[in-house]
Symmetry: D2
Subunit: 350 residues, 4 copies
């Protein structure tokens, strides 16, 4: 009964098999392995982007920070949601990789940047001259950090505002496939067709061991990215083991299958929680993450039964009335089983 | 017949098995997995260093650059050999992670820093006041980039010079175990007992998929290292898969067995090359790397037969006399077989 | 009729005389001039801080950014007001000099950080572990960017909150003396006695040509500061010309006299504006800066008459009703004369 | 008898007068002053470069480091002489401002980069791929750090090698005018006509209080430079006082007159030293700096008489034979008088 994060889940068996298969004989190192050639072709095909540059790194923080470093200069600012992973959970990696760019925090309900707020911030007269940092990049997250999704139309709106000012756009897609499956759209519709310039295309949270692709639609940025990746220590010598994971992921729809399982588990968990207790969502659940409040007594039973999930809106006070509503973040992964949810909900019911 | 690098080799089967075993159920993420607790205990035990902090990262460049970043401030310089990996092969990663420290290059035969040259450089009167960068750290590599090893006594000499000036010391041990096996010494003798403060303890070139440990003997540096690792994108969410590799490595002497195989293959290759052709070593072969010159005609035969190794001292001129002596770097790995060497030498013989 | 900024004013004659006097014969360079010895003694005496380190730089941005760089590590955040000069007007200098620290923006009326908001921000449970940037420093500005002042008691409250968490404190005193004169307190009461660790002690806006002192009360930070100053290009070879300005400033109460003139001019300007037109202050005027709204028709007359001041709350719309209230920022300097104000107010009156 | 550095000299009276004249009334701040418009026109005219961007900063380290930051990316290296000020005397400022670029040190006699050595370094096969830092910029110093000058033809040779590889070129002209006067050439011949892209045009060592111009011949780099200057704290609010110095410098040939005085003093000092004692030049004296060895007994007499100059090739041993040859660096400035030199030489003679 582990709902703390989708990165607590194991690696999908198809991926582990691919690693074992890749472990035969010698392979050219540092990204020149043959599997990587196939991965690049897969990504270009699936994204309908025959010119895209494709790079693999091992962590989501890296994918985001390196992506932003080719979009924003040190004296620029990156616009993102106040709750963005890049702001809250990366210990300043964007600042490190960009050489000291600023992050300008935007508001918006349910983890989605409000287009009007973005427009207003950009229009403020102070963005003039050398005294301010300059407008550099927009970064959005889909699935958002609060479990909601942007539609392609919503992405297009934000990206258009950015491009109208010459600002590049980044999509933190740590849960790209969860969003894509939830929306029923194509990779292209969620990315370059909607105006995204660089994508962090996540795999680790969706069944890989530790691989994220960075997809750059503008070839002019590619060489700089390669140098930054090496300089950041993120170019793997035994790169074939990254390639093999991503190849398996993109083969036979595994990526979509795994994300579908996670999303379905999320929907089932929410439904069962609502039936079992006074569970009230804090945000619309649109993929595999649930945010909600429920009574302390049910929390107590769940935890005593060994369930693991994240306390939300600050740590829970140690004591309080039994019907006190306390918030949680719960995340389902590709490996979350119905049986596991049922056991959890039994605990909650008491 | 692959002698380009030990990082072209596959993962040792014991390590792959450990990955498969680690792939059961949920595990706590970001380095808090149970396997990591055992790895820390193993390292402390094997290094006889009960207070050591142990961290895992995925690339050697990262291990080096993060290590140096806790030893040298941005306004300091790092002393290293002119041929050091940190200088030559990391695209400026030490500069990036330290925030702009300088590397001061030292000379010395066969890839080993000359102690007198180090002393002289440190003693130059210009290291005064705010006008110069300050003396920051010493970094040595063992096995060196030219295939030789420092003895513990030689390390002690250099580290003492450094410590006498308040300069911290780093050991780039991408091939730590190859050196240790070659020297027949203990991990402690090669590191903290010889005056080393921080070790990059390599695994990737010796049969792992992509794991290096950073071992910090001074606990005061540990928390800063953790923050820098996260900020650099080098803290893995599914960290158990790094831990599992390192645990298998350090179990049942696998690390020493693999390094012994590589070193023995290196010795055998050198011996066979000398018997087969006019092979002349450029540097004493002391572990698993060979540098030498041999006739163009033999190179031609080897390459036509499909052998892969690195041209050395600049790319080989396209044409020249058949007996022209051309240099090579050849590296054996844990997986280099006698049969493979014999096939190669047959080609060389013609 | 120049009210755009106090840095549009000339250099006070006493200061210019001191420069001329300093221009005799040779002087030791890079801060080792004899005048600097006297300046250090003056500052220590006036601040009642015999151990303080005193450094001169030429711009306020430099004083702030270098000060913050010895208080906050790259992986930390600096708490400051949303309107802080360091956030809004330094093109990311704090990020640059700290090596990529973040700025966390705090709210508070009239440019003053709200102590409760600061406490709340610090207490949020997310400031844990390696995933977030760490709490690094507090920076306050006095006179604030909105023309108000913090009392010593208010500074003490904020500094105590910071120190209770091990966070260092910085005072941006670009208008330190204006605040001191307004408060009628001593330099010590406004700084170290109130819990400030490092002060940017401004001179440029108060009659110097271009000198700010950085005063560091903790001697342990001094050497690092010196290296950062040199590395940032901010150590002057002909340093005597900085020293001479600061010496003159601190001699015969010139600093207080100049600030008093500026503050009095500010008070007089506000009083006359209120008498002359429908002038409504946006913030309490407590020193030499005025923020207020007044009718478009009066703005038009003032500008046509050649008056210069800053439009506020965004640029003024080009056209609108004559009685539309439009905001301004007006700043008086040591050189603002009553005659100049009277001429301006005549224009405003129409 | 001060020969330690030309920056120990006072400000030329014409420059001080200009500062006093500039101190009238209000002036627009941050580089928008009217004097600066005239300075830009002067520089463009004198350099025959109507498109050049001209910026003023206050220190030579700043001029160099900012110039290099618009020529070299963080993952590139800057080629310079082993003795370059940027390498030896700036506490890592180039590394800081570029975001961690490397400096690759070149050899060459008498402080001048050897063109063949530069060519060889560039041609080494290792400059390939992402593993190395990339080739970024060439920086030369004229007058060199060893007191010699490059001719326009020599500069052209080096710049052509650089440009052939797409590498930009920087001239550290802290003593630009001393070199120009020594060579009898025009500013254009020493800079853009010889292939220089960005010039640090020194004033401080030649009679200004603290002003260096950065002249950028490629307008595409200008805006980035402006942002980096502000972000580095190097944009002065009361900028008119920088402009006024530079305007006076470039008016009525003052710059050339001052440099001529310094060069002539250098020639006279060398001639008199040779007549007075066993003075042996270490490098050809071509401008205002002398490097040479002379007997300990004469050093003793000079120092006891109060003369100040720099010991060279390391600090002098405290004791030794009277005829021991000890090295010195002596620098003459615009203000060095014949009488002063005569007094010094009398001491030396004994």
């Amino acid at each position: 009964m582990m709902f703390a994060s989708d990165n607590a889940a194991p690696v999908a068996p198809e991926v582990m098999d691919a690693l074992v298969r890749a472990n035969e004989g010698y392979a050219s190192s540092y990204g020149t392995d043959e599997i990587m050639d196939r991965v690049t072709a897969q990504v270009r095909d699936l994204f309908e982007a025959p010119e895209a540059s494709v790079y693999l790194v091992a962590t989501g923080t890296t994918a985001n920070a390196l992506s932003l470093s080719v979009l924003a200069a040190p004296w620029q600012t990156i616009f993102c949601h106040r709750q963005a992973h890049a702001e809250v959970d990366e210990c300043g990696a964007p600042e490190f990789f960009t050489g000291g760019a600023k992050l300008t925090l935007l508001d918006g309900e349910n983890g989605r940047i409000d287009a009007a707020a973005f427009e207003t911030t950009l229009s403020e007269s102070k963005w003039l001259g050398v005294h301010n940092v300059q407008q550099g990049a927009l970064s959005i997250t889909n699935v958002t950090e609060l479990g909601t999704v942007y539609t392609p139309a919503e992405i297009t709106t934000l990206a258009t505002i950015a491009h109208d000012r010459g600002i590049g756009t980044h999509l933190d897609g740590a849960r790209f496939v969860n969003a894509m499956v939830a929306l029923g759209c194509t990779p292209a519709e969620m990315s370059w067709r909607a105006g995204i310039d660089v994508v962090s295309f996540g795999g680790t949270k969706n069944g890989l061991m530790g691989v994220e692709a960075v997809i750059i639609f503008d070839p002019a940025k590619a060489w700089e990215f390669e140098l930054r990746r090496k300089r950041g220590g993120h170019l793997f010598s035994k790169h074939r083991y990254l390639s093999a994971q991503m190849e398996a992921y993109l083969t036979n729809d595994l990526w979509q299958r795994l994300a579908g399982q996670a999303n379905n588990a999320g929907a089932y968990l929410e439904q069962q929680m609502m039936a079992a207790t006074d569970y009230r969502p804090l945000h619309p659940r649109q993929a595999n993450m649930l945010f909600g409040t429920w009574p302390r007594r049910a929390h107590d039973r769940a935890k005593q039964g060994g369930a693991v999930y994240e306390e939300w809106l600050g740590e829970h006070p140690k004591a309080g009335p039994a019907d006190e509503m306390l918030a949680s973040r719960m995340v389902c992964s590709w490996s979350t089983s119905q049986e596991e949810i049922d056991r959890f909900v039994e605990l909650v019911k008491g």
